[in-house]
């Protein structure tokens, strides 16, 4: 099958590549660009472990062909930290609040949380839960993920974070 030439920006760097049309964006990222942060947890577009940020949208990269991302600006978890290596406030927050256990959903979850806070910088708890409803987690029961996002939102807005008593 003839390959297509694509050119896109990934984590701030321009990438040129040849892909088969049927190559899924998640496979392109993981196998050709060696960005193994986003993961694959299902083949029916339910789990969200593959979530990336594409042109300002949270997208399940398993449900898109790499050719569709031609010309796009893609960010993965690998692009969250600053150039000097300091962690994004969300990455710190997930650690601070124990918002992860096995780590498999975490890249997709943090990438989604990033866009969620761009959409809505001060989400309520219910808004957070709806906001991450496309990301499944089997380990944490979501409670500490919600806390992590609240912590990050507070930090970004410069307001004090008050942890709700359990």
């Amino acid at each position: 099958m003839a390959k297509s030439q694509i050119s896109l920006s990934v984590n701030g760097k321009t990438v040129e590549a040849l892909v088969e049309p049927r190559t899924l964006l998640i496979h392109f990222l993981r196998e050709q660009l060696m960005l193994t942060g986003p993961h694959i947890g299902c083949e029916t577009s339910h789990c969200g472990a593959c979530t990336v940020d594409l042109d300002g949208k949270s997208v399940k990269s398993c449900t898109m062909f790499a050719v569709q991302a031609n010309g796009a600006d893609v960010r993965t978890i690998e692009g969250m930290a600053a150039a000097d290596g300091s962690l994004h406030v969300l990455q710190e927050a997930f650690r601070e609040m124990h918002g992860l256990q096995c780590g498999f959903c975490t890249p997709g979850m943090i990438t989604r949380a990033y866009r969620l806070l761009q959409e809505n910088p001060s989400p309520s708890e219910d808004e957070i839960r709806m906001g991450i409803s496309g990301n499944l987690c089997r380990c944490t029961g979501y409670q500490n993920i919600v806390k992590a996002i609240q912590y990050a939102a507070a930090k970004i807005s410069g307001v004090p974070f008050r942890e709700a008593a359990e």
């Binding site: 049927r22 969200g48 949208k57 949270s58 496309g134």
Partner: protein
């Protein structure tokens, strides 16, 4: 997980897209948001030899008005619908429904055109469009035409679209100011298709129903426009007895599939329960 091989096309005009679809015939499928088609391709339940990506068709984007009609480009995403203030003002039902479709990621990419044109009985927008009396603008090799939503759905994955045709826009007559609307969707969890759902748009006058339209989702092979149930409610005060009669009429036209969402008996009853709740909510929002 891995789709079959295909040739990828990215036309830059509707005419080009239609040309490709017509020439390639059954071997080709249009690609809108892809969140219905690509999962099927990954399971190899769909194996098109050609994909015609509609993402390059800028004409198919955007929300505008044309007289009393609101016209929405078929490639408008659910996310764009949710954020559109014109729609929020003129057809508030749409935002409510969009927010119940799938999850945030799918809504960023999934299109209104894809949701209405697929013929999947599980999609939410078709019954809503039937309820609103919408019309689909369609382009094909033979030119343009319009198909009423109420005449569009023929069976599961069977629509009135001819080979080579695509939906280019969805035209909705804006409901009158002061109308009440609601979409009640029973589902197993966020993001699921409806176990049963009911869309209601009504107007009241002096406490009585002046007009009423009802759509039902996922309780038959096609979305349903419950014409008889609505007729029964016209002129009533939505009293318990009349609502019960309308619910019976709605239940009577359902023939739900049996799946893990429940037995057909349950789903029919739930269509009735959703209708009852949608009517109550729509009434509470109605202006007069």
């Amino acid at each position: 997980m891995i789709p079959g091989a295909f040739t990828y096309h990215r036309p830059t005009s509707v005419a080009e897209a239609v040309g490709l679809l017509t020439d390639l015939g059954e071997d080709a499928r249009p690609l809108a948001g892809g969140h219905s088609l690509i999962p099927m391709m990954k399971l190899r339940l769909a194996t098109p030899a050609h994909l015609i990506d509609l993402a390059g068709l800028k004409d198919l984007k955007g929300v505008s008005t044309d007289g009393n009609d609101v016209v929405i480009g078929a490639m408008t995403t659910q996310h764009e619908l949710i954020g559109n203030d014109l729609l929020a003002g003129k057809v508030p039902l749409l935002r409510e429904v969009s927010l119940m479709i799938a999850d945030p990621q799918v809504r960023y990419v999934g299109t209104l055109g894809g949701n209405v044109a697929n013929g999947d009985p599980g999609n939410d927008m078709p019954a809503v469009m039937m309820c609103l009396g919408a019309t689909y603008e369609v382009a094909g090799k033979g030119g343009k035409r319009r198909i009423a939503a109420r005449e569009f759905y023929q069976g599961a994955y069977f629509t009135a679209l001819e080979p080579g045709e695509i939906v280019t826009a969805i035209r909705i007559p804006a409901p009158p100011a002061g109308h009440g609307c609601a979409y009640e969707k029973l589902k197993r969890k966020v993001g699921d298709y409806a176990t049963a759902a009911a869309a209601v748009v009504l107007t009241t006058s002096g406490g009585r129903v002046a007009s009423c339209s009802i759509g039902l989702t996922n309780v038959a092979e096609t979305p349903l426009w419950a014409e008889e149930a609505a007729r029964i409610l016209n002129g009533s005060a939505l009293d318990v007895a009349t609502v019960k009669k309308a619910v019976a009429a709605a239940e009577a036209i359902t023939s739900p599939a049996s799946d893990r969402r429940g037995t057909p008996q349950y789903r029919t009853k739930m269509a009735g329960v959703m209708l009852t709740r949608a009517l109550a909510r729509a009434k509470s929002r109605a202006g007069s």
